[in-house]
């Protein structure tokens, strides 16, 4: 086994896990508090990436572009919540699924009209294009380290927000018992808009951080959305802690699995079979993990109380 | 005397820090109407839930007709002969009254992996269904959609569905709860007509109904059995009077 490659893949997995957590945190909060299944969460991720690319183009600076994209995403989130989603809180999940599916179609087409069908690239400034030597002779891209650090800082910030502030107290109360929050005489509408806005900013942050690694393109949010769903199902819907643990788990297993499963299979199978089965099977790993978790704990690893 | 049809042995169930059922040991003899009474939160519905199988006890055992059923799933207990009515009415609101009962008949007429024959015209289901509707006095509403029934009629329908499973034991969770005076009296009358024909474990708040129907009464308080005995004994029991009947009679 190539230990250096394994280390690199683990870091890549951690980085994917961090991005997944940023997406899953918003998703799980919105579900836990508003009881809303939001398929369009991936669209907000995509919009974050497009915003950052456009603003970076205008200002000529990646960092300024990223900083401008976040308030723009917040604004977008608030508009979406007020215009389209508010009426859906009281509806059943099927209605929410359909309506937010409609939102995906809308955003994808909007992106096609505004930014064109071809993918865009968001290039990094020189100081992030470098690499850091983790161990002597083992370089690792600075930007990926930056993603991991930013993500961990945000996760820490979320932890502080949820556990040590009044809004956090309301969020926790809302996630375990919706009726209680309204009983406290809180302006529910405002809290909902705020939570949705927060979720949007986190999704957009994930999108803009992923943008320099991937191509900014239509549909980029949909693939990762499903992964985020897998994450919150494994973690327990409504639980931020669960989302964090599951996101890191899924990120690691998916990345490391893709890198090593074919090699691993070669231990038992012929080269050719391993080469063929490897890619297909490695994409199944996280779903197998999900199935295994659900078979033993149908409500995920950290089910929030109350539902 | 023959073996009791239902035996609860040291049954215990906790929800978090709350002990909902606390070492309950109880026998229900075949043919008797056994009432379980107690103040709100005494753990009556939790007890019914454990007997019907919806709630797993933490400790203790349940025997039905001599068999251990502590771990059996709900449908198995129903097939063995335990039928329940729910405190909060629970029927199939989109089905007709007849279809509700017919489905209960069907449940005990072999498996339902029959994909082709029209069950809504199946005499072997409809005839017994009509019979049970007659028994509970709901024949007049047979063709109506269940959602249109009054609250009292819903309770009657529940009873018909329970009877349609040809139970050896009926678990009735507050059959008169929320029902108006007239309908309530009719329900008590109906249950009185069942005396001797069915074994009934009755959860009830209405003390008049309990003393009119029960052969034996068990008083539950905070999950524990406070007293158990014939209605006369219960009425005379000082602990019961203090804890419970005192309020009710006041």
């Amino acid at each position: 086994m190539d230990w250096i490659l394994l280390l690199e893949q683990c870091l890549n997995g951690l980085q994917l896990g961090i991005l997944l957590f940023l997406l899953a945190a918003g998703l799980t909060l919105v579900f836990g508090i508003m009881d809303l299944v939001n398929l369009a969460h991936g669209s907000l991720y995509m919009m974050g990436a497009y915003f950052a690319t456009t603003f970076a183009g205008w200002t000529g600076s990646f960092l300024l572009g990223a900083l401008l994209a976040l308030p723009a995403a917040l604004l977008l989130g608030i508009v979406v919540e007020v215009v389209a989603l508010r009426t859906l809180y009281s509806r059943d999940h099927l209605d929410q699924v359909l309506a937010t599916f409609g939102l995906i179609l809308f955003f994808n087409e909007l992106a096609r009209i505004v930014w064109g069908p071809a993918g865009l690239d968001l290039s990094l400034p020189a100081f992030l294009e470098t690499s850091v030597e983790l161990l002597p002779g083992v370089p690792y891209p600075t930007y990926r380290i930056a993603i991991i650090v930013t993500g961990l800082l945000v996760a820490g910030g979320m932890y502080a927000l949820v556990n040590h502030t009044r809004i956090g107290m309301l969020i926790r109360a809302g996630a375990s018992n919706r009726g209680m929050v309204s009983a406290l005489g809180v302006n529910i509408r405002l809290l909902y808009t705020l939570v949705f806005g927060l979720g949007t900013v986190l999704a957009a942050l994930a999108g803009l951080m992923a943008a320099p690694i991937l191509t900014v393109q239509i549909g980029m949010g949909e693939t990762i959305l499903i992964l985020a769903f897998v994450v919150i199902v494994i973690g327990g819907i409504g639980s931020i802690r669960g989302a964090f643990v599951a996101a890191i788990l899924v990120g690691l297993i998916d990345t490391v699995g893709r890198a090593f499963l074919a090699d691993f299979l070669r231990l038992f199978l012929t080269n050719q079979v391993a080469e063929t089965a490897g890619p297909a099977m490695s994409s199944m790993l996280i779903y197998i993990l999900m199935a295994a978790v659900l078979a033993t704990r149908p409500r995920g690893l950290f089910p929030p109380r109350g539902h | 005397m023959s073996e009791p049809i239902l035996q609860l042995r040291d049954l215990t169930k906790r929800f978090g820090g709350l002990v909902a059922t606390d070492s309950v040991t109880l026998d229900v003899a075949e043919g008797e109407v056994h009432a379980v009474i107690g103040p709100n939160g005494a753990g009556k519905t939790t007890l019914v839930g454990q007997i019907s199988g919806e709630i797993r006890p933490d400790r203790g055992q349940i025997f039905f007709a001599g068999q251990p059923i502590t771990r059996s799933p709900v449908h198995v207990r129903s097939l063995l002969g335990i039928a329940r009515s729910f405190q909060i009415t629970s029927v199939f609101p989109g089905f007709t009254v007849t279809a509700n009962v017919a489905l209960a008949v069907q449940a005990h007429a072999g498996h339902s992996f029959r994909f082709w024959t029209d069950a809504t015209r199946d005499g072997t289901l409809l005839a017994p269904a009509a019979q049970y509707l007659e028994l509970v006095g709901l024949t007049g509403r047979a063709g109506d959609v269940a959602a249109t029934l009054s609250h009292g009629e819903h309770r009657q329908l529940e009873l018909a569905m329970a009877l349609a499973t040809e139970p050896k034991l009926l678990l009735l969770d507050e059959p008169t709860a929320g029902v108006g005076g007239d309908e309530s009296a009719r329900m008590v009358e109906l249950l009185r007509s069942f005396k001797g024909r069915f074994t009934i474990l009755l959860i009830e708040h209405d003390m008049d109904a309990v003393f009119a129907l029960a052969d034996r009464i068990t008083v539950l308080d905070s999950g524990r059995i406070l007293a158990s005995g014939a209605p006369g004994e219960i009425r005379a029991d000082p602990a019961v009077r203090q804890a419970y009947l005192g309020d009710a009679e006041a």
């Binding site: 499903i226 819907i237 | 449908h75 129903s78």
Partner: protein
């Protein structure tokens, strides 16, 4: 005798479908024959989804996967028939039972895990499993991976019929559509159907009267998967192409839209829904290539204001006439 509005619309739709080939052949518009062919195939898939979604209240968001399985049976079969000269692998009388077996087996595994869960978990798990099958398709390097596989021949039905002729193919699909409708009509009125419909409104009660709900839901899930697998066989032959894209979760979303648009839990609803979906798509995309920017918000409006779907509207008209 007065005919109810629902019956009139239903028979009208079937008659209209039956006269499509002579009309499109006379007008020399094979495109529209192909469009209606696709419409009926998707209708069969939507009907199968309605069986669990509409009648059983199981919001399965991975239903397109079964269609993909059926399609790959044809794709892989004909691929080897041509590449390796194994003629019997092109036999349609083999494709159909194989598709049924494979898709119901997949439904058995997916259902066995998903049905243990409730509500939004069920939605997300079926979504995730559907997507897993999509990625398996993407991983099938031999069969074109994400580029998919072109069919160089269609399923062969011996001397019985030749589906290379689109008119014959059309009537085969129409016959299968009618058979599916009739089968579902019988099924939902059967003892099995009553259990499934009962589970939709009150699973707890069903268990309390002595019915082991889980296994009935699982079998319904498999039946729906099997029917959808057959639709996949037809779709592969219709498009002469299979690709993982047929299993993408947005295709499952399309099927849900058809069912809801047409009217959940009604016999003909999914057919109307499939028709409305394809015709609206055809109409809007004729106006602008960016038709989805209209269709998306339209969908939101339908969800918010017209939940009964088309069948619900017809039913409401019927009531007004009474």
């Amino acid at each position: 005798m007065r005919i109810s509005a629902s019956t009139a619309v239903a028979s009208g739709t079937i008659v209209a479908l039956a006269v499509v080939p002579p009309i499109t052949n006379a007008l020399q518009e094979p495109f529209y024959l192909g469009l209606f062919l696709r419409l009926m195939i998707l209708a069969i898939a939507a009907i199968s989804l309605n069986l669990i979604l509409g009648f059983g209240n199981m919001v399965s968001f991975g239903h397109a996967a079964y269609m993909g399985i059926g399609a790959y049976v044809v794709g892989i079969g004909t691929f080897h028939a041509i590449e390796d000269g194994i003629d019997w692998l092109a036999n349609g009388f083999l494709h159909v039972p194989l598709a049924i077996a494979a898709s119901s087996l997949a439904a058995l595994v997916i259902g066995a895990i998903s049905i243990r869960t409730r509500g939004v978990y069920f939605i997300m798990i079926t979504l995730a499993f559907g997507q897993m099958l999509y990625f398996i398709g993407v991983g099938l390097e031999v069969y074109g991976a994400d580029d998919g596989l072109s069919l160089y021949m269609r399923s062969e039905f011996g001397g019985v019929l030749d589906i290379n002729d689109n008119t014959q193919f059309y009537y085969l699909v129409l016959a299968l559509l009618l058979a599916t409708l009739y089968g579902v009509k019988r099924l939902i009125a059967s003892r099995f159907g009553l259990v499934i419909r009962g589970a939709r409104s009150n699973e707890r009660r069903l268990a309390a009267v002595g019915i082991p709900v889980y296994r009935y839901k699982l079998v319904a899930f498999m039946v729906a998967g099997a029917i959808c697998g057959v639709a996949g066989v037809l779709l592969a032959n219709r498009t002469d192409f299979v690709s993982p894209d047929m299993m993408h979760w947005t295709r499952s979303g399309d099927l849900i839209i058809m069912v809801v648009l047409g009217g959940m839990g009604t016999l003909f609803g999914p057919l109307y829904g499939a028709a409305a979906f394809l015709l609206v798509e055809e109409f809007l995309s004729g106006i602008t290539e960016h038709w989805q920017i209209v269709f998306g918000p339209l969908l939101i409006l339908v969800v918010i204001y017209a939940r009964g779907g088309i069948a619900g509207v017809v039913h409401a008209l019927e009531r007004r006439r009474e």
